[in-house]
């Protein structure tokens, strides 16, 4: 990892939880180090990481070059209906001869895009509200009133079971893919308000914020450059694995509302695909299994990666992780020494010993 130039002298002293990093390279470097540490400690997270990369690459290829699909998505072929999985159709075909492999692959960029859009939108919207609610809460100020309103509304949304609220929104908003996206987003942002607010409340009381204020840095700049930067890491980690959760929730909403959403053709979205084929499950089981497995694998990949990242960031397990890490480092030194100690001639007593 490249070490960026030293921080400018004007930066306040770093203290507390996270060193105040300056410069994009260092921030990226820190993220990469976190990723590397997680992957090294945790073989399952490593598997998740590999899967996420593979899925992302495949999704990108399918999206950019749809011709890589063995058959065009949703293309009907009445000469090849109801085929069990075979070499020609690895995932089988449905009642109208549509190739399941092509359909499932075509759904990959759709589901990934849905996951990233909803989680990303929630991160931006909820995160911004969370920063406001966490930072501007001096009693009897306009900010405090705004914070209180934000928090009350957030609490209200969080009182609903997520899936139930998303379903209710979907019903109210109408038909199609976009109402579901909007409905899940409307359900999702409050999580990020809570998360961001919690992070801000921690960072806000760190000495370096007081130092920045004492140095005459403006409040807006403190929020943007110091608070925001230090809450970014946990928010991003949460975002990473949230993509999987969004995909599951979205597909469940699509599954439940499928009857009123897409009555005729299966859409290239996995949850709706499963719902469409549900009626055939007893005699064409592969039509349900493969889209379902696709969701399972995608979400599992994000969860495996995120579970490990979470362990590294968790304040309660972080302590032991750090100990393991430093013990490992010391151990490496010790190992090197033990290996070399046989040949190493014992040095003469140090100069300070002879005094």
């Amino acid at each position: 990892m490249t070490v960026p130039p030293a921080a400018p002298a004007s930066s306040p002293p770093s203290a507390g939880r996270a060193p105040l990093s300056v410069g994009r390279a260092r921030r990226v470097g820190r993220g990469l180090r976190l990723l590397y540490r997680t992957l090294r400690i945790n073989p399952l997270s490593f598997a998740g990481f590999v899967l996420v990369v593979l899925l992302g690459a495949t999704g990108l290829v399918v999206w950019l070059v749809p011709s890589v699909l063995p058959y065009p998505a949703l293309s009907i072929n009445l000469n090849a209906t109801n085929l069990a999985p075979s070499w020609a159709h690895p995932f089988g075909t449905d009642e109208l001869g549509r190739d399941l492999l092509s359909n499932v692959l075509a759904g990959l960029p759709v589901d990934l895009a849905i996951g990233f859009t909803i989680a990303g939108g929630s991160l931006l919207f909820g995160g911004a509200l969370g920063v406001v609610a966490g930072y501007y809460n001096r009693p009897r100020s306009l900010g405090a009133v705004a914070s209180m309103v934000i928090l009350r509304v957030t609490d209200l949304f969080l009182a609903f079971p997520a899936l139930i609220l998303a379903l209710a929104f979907t019903i109210a908003l109408g038909r199609g893919l976009y109402p579901i996206v909007l409905a899940v987003f409307l359900t999702w942002w409050p999580f990020y308000v809570r998360l961001a607010r919690g992070e801000v409340l921690v960072v806000k009381n760190q000495p370096y914020i007081a130092a920045a204020r004492a140095a005459g840095v403006s409040e807006g700049r403190i929020v943007l450059r110091h608070v925001l930067r230090n809450i970014l890491e946990p928010l991003m980690v949460y975002f990473t694995l949230d993509v999987g959760t969004v995909i599951v929730t979205f597909s469940t909403v699509a599954f439940v509302t499928h009857g009123i959403q897409y009555p005729v053709t299966p859409p290239v979205e996995w949850g709706a695909m499963v719902a469409y084929y549900e009626d055939y499950v007893t005699y064409l089981p592969w039509t349900v299994l493969f889209p379902g497995i696709a969701i399972f694998v995608t979400v599992l990949a994000f969860s495996l990666l995120g579970d490990g990242l979470r362990d590294v960031l968790d304040p309660r397990t972080r302590q032991s992780m750090i100990q393991v890490g430093s013990a490992a480092r010391e151990g490496r030194v010790a190992g090197a020494f033990v290996a070399g100690s046989d040949e190493e001639p014992p040095g003469p007593p140090g100069p300070e010993a002879s005094s």
């Binding site: 013990a327 490992a328 151990g331 010790a334 020494f337 007593p349 140090g350 300070e352 010993a353």
Partner: protein, 378 residues
């Protein structure tokens, strides 16, 4: 002294094995403890004192720690050879332990009463262990050991009154009998208002109070050997003095064997009968306190004693030991102390330091030192 030693630590070596290698936390530690005596272990931070304290009752977490060699013989039984599930039968009534950090050593979720009463119940069940073994274990079988191994040497020697003749279970926790004993245990550690204290949770008590309760709970099991791992280091100075005074009084009252671990030479001089000095995972000098502290026979002990502030010479300069404690990961070859030793000879760096050798060959169990040139130290 004709008594058999309570505890013999024989050539004990413990490694910490981590991802990329291992380092020696304890190397060839040997000493023995005679019944009714207080043995102090003194040394700087990181020299292996705490590892030793945890290794004796088998408390070291097994993945990083591994016992490379040696034995820990407690009342005739080698604890290192004991299967894991039998260790609980030795702990509590056999070996009790007081930890360094009183804030953490009591369970925050239980009231003081429950914690002390639990210890008392363990002891009472053990006292009836032999009887229960014949008639089948009770529902609250704290110790699987005595129930299944009635003739084992473990569990026997430390039954104060011998086996109880009738078949009976320990009274329930809420019984007045247990309550009386809990109050007794709390009064033993000079708690003035035990009725109030036993209703409280640990977080409602001060550090000194918690340490008293920890001591009360440990002593309530009447252990044959008490390990005190820096019991006062985490306390404020004034509280420290109180707890030390208490422990000194208790030593006279209960007459049990105590392994007292501290980094404070003054505390050891005050409390202990024998003392072992540790450096870099080894016991480098061992013997009666008076002899070791008056006539140290290892350069490290000598330097350590000279570095200790002496209140009688307030304005004298403090001496320090040149260099710094080596990391266990990077021990120097030969005698581990030789780079800092003012008496070091060239071959000190070549030969590994000797094991403990008696200073006076006529007294093999007396004052011992692990220096080649012990006799030449002024």
């Amino acid at each position: 002294m004709t008594d058999a030693p309570v505890l013999v630590v024989d050539d004990l070596s413990v490694d910490y094995e981590v991802a990329a290698g291992r380092f020696h936390a304890l190397s060839n530690v040997s000493f023995e403890m005679l019944p009714g005596r207080v043995t102090g272990i003194v040394g700087e931070t990181g020299c292996g004192k705490s590892t030793l304290a945890h290794a004796i009752p088998g408390l070291l977490p097994s993945p990083p720690a591994r016992i490379r060699s040696g034995k820990v013989v407690f009342q005739g039984t080698d604890l290192t050879a004991l299967p894991r599930w039998k260790l609980p039968t030795v702990r509590g009534t056999g070996i009790g332990m007081v930890f360094q950090e009183p804030l953490n050593s009591l369970n925050p979720a239980y009231r003081v009463f429950d914690q002390v009463a639990e210890a008392i119940r363990v002891r009472r069940l053990r006292e009836k262990g032999a009887v229960r073994a014949r008639s089948g274990g009770g529902p609250f079988d704290y110790s699987r050991g005595p129930a299944t191994t009635p003739t084992s040497t473990i569990g026997r020697p430390f039954l104060p009154g011998g086996p109880v003749e009738e078949r009976m279970r320990s009274p329930p926790v809420r019984s007045p009998e247990i309550r009386t004993e809990v109050l007794e245990a709390l009064r033993l550690v000079r708690i003035n208002d035990p009725e109030t204290i036993l209703r409280l949770y640990p977080h409602e008590l001060s550090g000194g109070m918690r340490q008293r309760i920890m001591i009360a709970q440990t002593l309530a099991e009447r252990p044959s050997l008490l390990i005190a791992d820096e019991p006062t280091s985490a306390l404020d100075v004034t509280i420290q003095a109180q707890v030390l005074t208490l422990m000194k009084e208790l030593i006279d009252e209960i007459r049990t064997s105590i392994l007292f671990i501290s980094h404070d030479l003054g505390v050891i001089a005050e409390m202990a009968d024998d003392v072992g000095v540790m450096y870099a995972g080894r016991v480098i000098e061992f013997g009666p306190v008076a002899s070791v502290f008056e006539h140290p026979r290892h350069p490290y002990t000598r330097a350590l004693l000279r570095a200790a502030p002496d209140r009688s010479k307030a304005d004298g300069p403090l001496e320090s030991i040149p260099g710094s404690v080596p990391s266990l990961a990077r021990l120097p070859g030969g005698c581990a102390f030789h780079p800092r030793c003012v008496y070091a000879r060239p071959n000190c760096g070549e030969n590994p330091g000797p094991s403990l050798r008696p200073v006076d060959p006529a007294d093999p169990l007396g004052h011992r030192s692990a220096c080649w040139y012990a006799a030449e130290i002024p």
